[in-house]
Amino acid sequence: MSILSFRDVSLRYPPRPGSRAAGNDRLVLDGINLQVASNELVAIIGRSGSGKTSLLNLAAGFIAPTSGTIAVDGVPIPGPGADRAVVFQDDALYPWLDARDNVAFPLKLKGMPRATRQARAQQLLELVGLGDAGDHHVWELSGGMRQRVGIARALAAEPRFLLLDEPLGALDALTRTRMQEFLLRIQARSGAGAVLITHSIDEALILASRVLVLSPHPGRLTAEIEAGFSAEILAGAATEKVKASPLFKRLHDGLTSLIHSLPNEEAAA
């Protein structure tokens, strides 16, 4: 069991070039405290501009916090690393590699021999239901398939945490629903913890054991909800049924009105 932790993390961007107001630097995230265990999926929801993606970029190590500490098992992260693999919204697959070589990419980085890594990649492709797609160029695949290749690639790195940056945001509604169930099962099986950034309250409630609300300007974690729906779905309950339950509706409505009560980007700008 690993723990990904944020302790008093703040992030400040320098003022926009051309901004006249002195000291007008932008506080993006303020006093973030967060712990994610490697057996849970935590969703972070908030409006655009609330700093969700910045928070994920901090966890990934792409950017460094202005103050505070981000650590895995108490050890501050030195930067990006394969223990925290990111799945991007627009998949970020490499178009010069076929699907299998994309999945094998992290294994190649480790110096695994070609035959071994191809076999491992094939297993992962089969795991995500794309056993026949290995030889395809990634641009020949549909959005949902590409996203699954991206998830398989992240899993190939054997991460302790999956950082999911709106991975389903660009998919059509039907595919998105399928992919939510898929993501839920794959995360539970992988044994990796996950941080999911999403706009969708539905998605957060279905997938996450905990839902955190990020309020904007500056980004602060303002609310936390324990959601048990993912456990029900994993135990075999139909997603549609779960979404129709009174408790789901109450939480959904509560989160909706909470998010709407927060200042939005236009009002702050």
Partner: protein
């Protein structure tokens, strides 16, 4: 990881994929716009272009048949074709057409290899490091706008009149576009591609070799195509000035003896080779980077 190997694939997803594909395709009743436009049947541009070429040759034939222009200035198309045939069979100034063309191609591909070997590392240096950019940018920016024939005399003084001087000049003419296209390719690498690699455990060298370089290949190939065009025009000009073989030299010699039909045949051959080089470069791009149009 052993976890995964024991698991069954999620077979239901295959059905979902088929459904998603079906949704992404256009409905059967909708006709693409191009098909609708085709019913108007405008004359294809290729037909117009062919007619233009035919008209030029027709006017040319007419002018020489009527004796409007002296054959010394403008031989008839027939004479040019015969000159071309003779060039292939018996040659001119000690070499056949193919030997002249071969000498020119040898120079241009020799120069291409040299400029690729120097230009790609230089472009990578400019695109990835401040130091590299600081050092190389002024050199490239000095070289780029210079007409290569301006430094040909200096190169001849330095490396002599032989093949080396021609290859050096052509390579210098090709170098800026290869360096600049490489560095442009490096700078246009997707940030997410790089970040994905970092989060999957790649170090700086691995990012350069596994992400930045492959991602730059389309841009590099475009640079090579432009370089070939620039190199070819420079080569022919350089051969006019200082050479004892090559297609440019052939034209220059023919002009000195007022053998205008050979001059014109040579010009046509130069144009055809330029088109062929462009075609080959585009073929190479399609073969090597079919993904470039799908980013």
């Amino acid at each position: 990881m052993t976890l995964f190997t024991e698991l069954r694939p999620l077979s239901r997803l295959a059905e979902a994929d088929a459904a998603e594909d079906a949704r992404n395709e256009a409905p059967a009743g909708v006709r693409p716009a191009t098909e609708a436009a085709a019913t108007a049947r405008p004359v294809p541009i290729a037909v117009i272009s062919t007619l233009t070429i035919a008209a030029i040759i027709g006017l040319w034939s007419l002018a020489s048949a009527r004796g409007v222009v002296s054959p010394v200035f403008l031989p008839s198309p027939r004479q040019v074709v015969i000159a071309g045939y003779n060039l292939i069979v018996t040659g001119f100034v000690d070499a056949t057409l193919f030997e002249h063309v071969g000498a020119s191609l040898y120079r241009i591909f020799g120069a291409l290899i040299a400029s690729v070997l120097i230009g790609i590392p230089a472009g990578l240096a400019i695109g990835t490091s401040r130091l590299g950019r600081g050092i190389l940018d002024p050199i490239v920016e000095f070289l780029r706008p210079l007409p290569p024939l301006a430094y040909l005399p200096l190169v001849i003084i330095w490396v002599g009149i032989g093949e080396a001087s021609k290859i050096t000049v052509i390579a210098l003419a090709m170098l800026p576009s290869i360096i600049l296209s490489t560095s442009a390719g490096v700078r246009s690498v997707s940030r997410e591609h790089v970040n994905a690699a970092r989060s999957l455990g790649a170090g700086p060298r691995q990012i350069l070799a596994q992400v930045v370089l492959p991602s730059s290949v389309p841009s590099i190939l475009t640079g090579i195509r432009i370089a070939l065009g620039a190199g070819w025009t420079t080569l022919v000009a350089a051969e006019l000035v200082a050479a004892t073989s090559g297609i440019g030299f052939m034209i220059q010699s023919a002009a000195q003896f007022l053998v205008t039909d050979i001059v014109i045949a040579g010009i046509i051959v130069i144009a055809l080779i330029a088109i062929l080089l462009e075609f080959l470069a585009r073929l190479l791009e399609r073969r090597l980077v079919p993904w470039a149009s799908h980013r």
